[in-house]
């Protein structure tokens, strides 16, 4: 179950290349960080890995085969702003169960309280919503997780809570994680190795 990005290149229309020739390999259970200044396409690259966007050049492979366009995507992504990643007209139990039914153990691990499930998204804080986004992304068929500035908007305690939960699950399921963050100390704390996105220019 290896995730491989081969020679990925992306640009909008006929504009200049945002990046070209990006090669990254992620092993199961491996936690890899990406650094680099903002505006160089890190987020776009993540979106390509998660299947939100198609690369202009190159391909994303899993176990040597290209990823399917339809069906459950084995690479799931958690974004910076949970408010945008959640349908404001759904109650939280609907949001949580959209992809699968997370078990109580996972909810406890992430600190999701039973009482929140009957609420609307706008009644919860960003930190609380982000736990739902994480739980939702950790379906049984998720092999790799992409965390794009996932905890940037959260306070230190919530950040540590969420990461501890994810690390525990990643270890148990041999799940690979790609971490994008500006906080070098968080990166050092979490990652086995760090890739500099600038090197691909």
């Amino acid at each position: 179950m290896q995730l491989e990005a081969k020679d990925i290149g992306f640009r909008y229309g006929d504009g200049p290349w945002l990046f070209q020739g990006v090669n990254i390999t992620l092993e199961p259970g491996e936690i890899v960080g990406i650094t680099g200044p903002s505006g160089r396409g890190k987020t776009t690259f993540c979106r390509i890995l998660a299947g939100f966007e198609s690369p202009i050049e190159g391909a994303v492979h899993m176990n040597g085969a290209p990823l399917q366009k339809n069906g459950y995507h084995p690479v799931q992504m958690v974004l910076q702003h949970p408010e945008k990643a959640i349908n404001p007209r759904w109650k939280l139990h609907q949001i949580l169960n959209e992809g699968y039914q997370p078990d109580q153990e996972l909810l406890n691990l992430l600190g999701i309280e039973q009482e929140w499930l009957t609420r609307w998204p706008h009644e919860l804080s960003g930190g609380e919503l982000q736990r739902f986004c994480v739980a939702r992304a950790l379906g049984p068929n998720t092999r790799f997780l992409i965390a794009d500035e996932m905890t940037t908007m959260l306070d230190a305690n919530t950040q540590a809570q969420i990461w501890h939960a994810i690390m525990e699950i990643a270890k148990k399921r041999e799940m690979g994680i790609l971490v994008v963050t500006h906080e070098s100390k968080l990166m050092q704390r979490l990652c086995h190795r760090v890739i500099n996105f600038n090197e691909f220019d």
Binding site: S38, D155, Q159, H182, K185
Partner: protein, 307 residues
């Protein structure tokens, strides 16, 4: 003497349950904090702790379903709605979170000029731009042409050019890379060194520590501790409140160990100390009543057990 003083502030919101029942949520309760000239006060807390609402309350821009009690004083005089109307944008300025607060259809130079109060607006704007290393060509650009860092400096210029005495910055740093963060923060330091008072609202304790003089820690709508930045060293022995200690310990460069649970929702606040349900040191006494802020070792803390 404090330039801005918030005393015993409470803010509640009227809202509706799923049925047709109306309820009042107290989102800020008995909050006191003071701002000194030449000083940066960082307001730190989780999202939902009421820190942005404090800024909105000070500037009088809370939504209409909010009700407010307590007092906010500016230069020792009550900040009434009428007084606010004359001071807002002149002596009190907000540096908003996002670039979306710039008018997308107006050249940034003229936007900054509209904020200038009296005098030669054009030369004032040019001076400020020069100071923030914004080239002459930036004047004629539209917001979409600016990079994130430039946009942020433009927002700062707007506050600067107004000659404000008090600047309130709401989450100015997230999502920026370290270089830009550093620059933005040093700009605030410069403000304060020129005699302004700065309130820096952020969830990011780390960047707050880089430039602030004092830190006010928010939890569930009130301050739990006001401490000097110098107290945040080592294992946090000098920190007074257990929540602040937990925040400090949870930083990735420290132990990265979180405490379980989460901040109580305004609809179900505990009767006693708001932090008691998650506190290791909690005793039955803590559940009796919400502790008052008290002075302790040159700081303030809202905890009966703190030493």
């Amino acid at each position: 003497m404090s330039i801005l003083e918030v005393e015993n502030l409470s803010v509640s919101f009227k809202s509706y349950t799923d049925g047709f029942k109306e309820i009042n949520h107290k989102v800020i309760s008995s909050l006191s904090v003071a701002l000194e000239a030449g000083e940066i006060l960082a307001v730190v807390g989780a999202s939902g702790s009421g820190k942005s609402l404090l800024a909105h309350a000070i500037l009088g821009i809370l939504p209409s379903n909010a009700s407010i009690s307590g007092s906010i004083k500016y230069k020792d005089e009550e900040l009434t709605a009428a007084r606010l109307a004359t001071l807002r944008g002149k002596e009190l300025a907000l540096v908003p979170q996002s670039v979306n607060f710039l008018d997308p259809l107006m050249r940034v130079g003229s936007q900054v000029r509209t904020a200038a109060n009296g005098g030669d607006a054009v030369s004032a704007q040019r001076k400020v731009f020069e100071r923030y290393h914004l080239g002459k060509e930036v004047e004629n650009m539209y917001p979409f042409q600016l990079s994130g860092g430039m946009a942020r400096r433009t927002l700062l210029s707007t506050a600067m050019v107004s000659g404000a005495k008090v600047i309130i910055a709401d989450e100015p740093t997230p999502g920026l890379d370290p270089v830009v963060i550093k620059e933005a923060l040093s700009n605030f330091r410069e403000f304060a060194d020129n005699g302004c008072a700065v309130m820096l609202i952020t969830h990011d304790i780390e960047s707050a520590l880089q430039i602030a003089d004092k830190i006010a820690v928010f939890y569930a709508g009130t301050t739990v501790e006001i401490a000097s930045v110098k107290d945040f060293v080592g294992k946090g022995e000098a920190i007074r409140h257990p929540y602040t200690k937990a925040l400090w310990r949870a930083l990735p460069q420290n132990e990265f160990i979180p405490i379980p649970g989460s901040q109580p929702h305004p609809s179900s606040l505990p009767s006693g100390c708001l932090f008691a349900p998650r506190c290791e040191m909690a005793t039955p006494e803590c559940e009796q009543a919400q502790p008052e802020m008290r002075e302790l070792r040159d700081g303030m803390v809202r905890c009966i057990h703190a030493t």
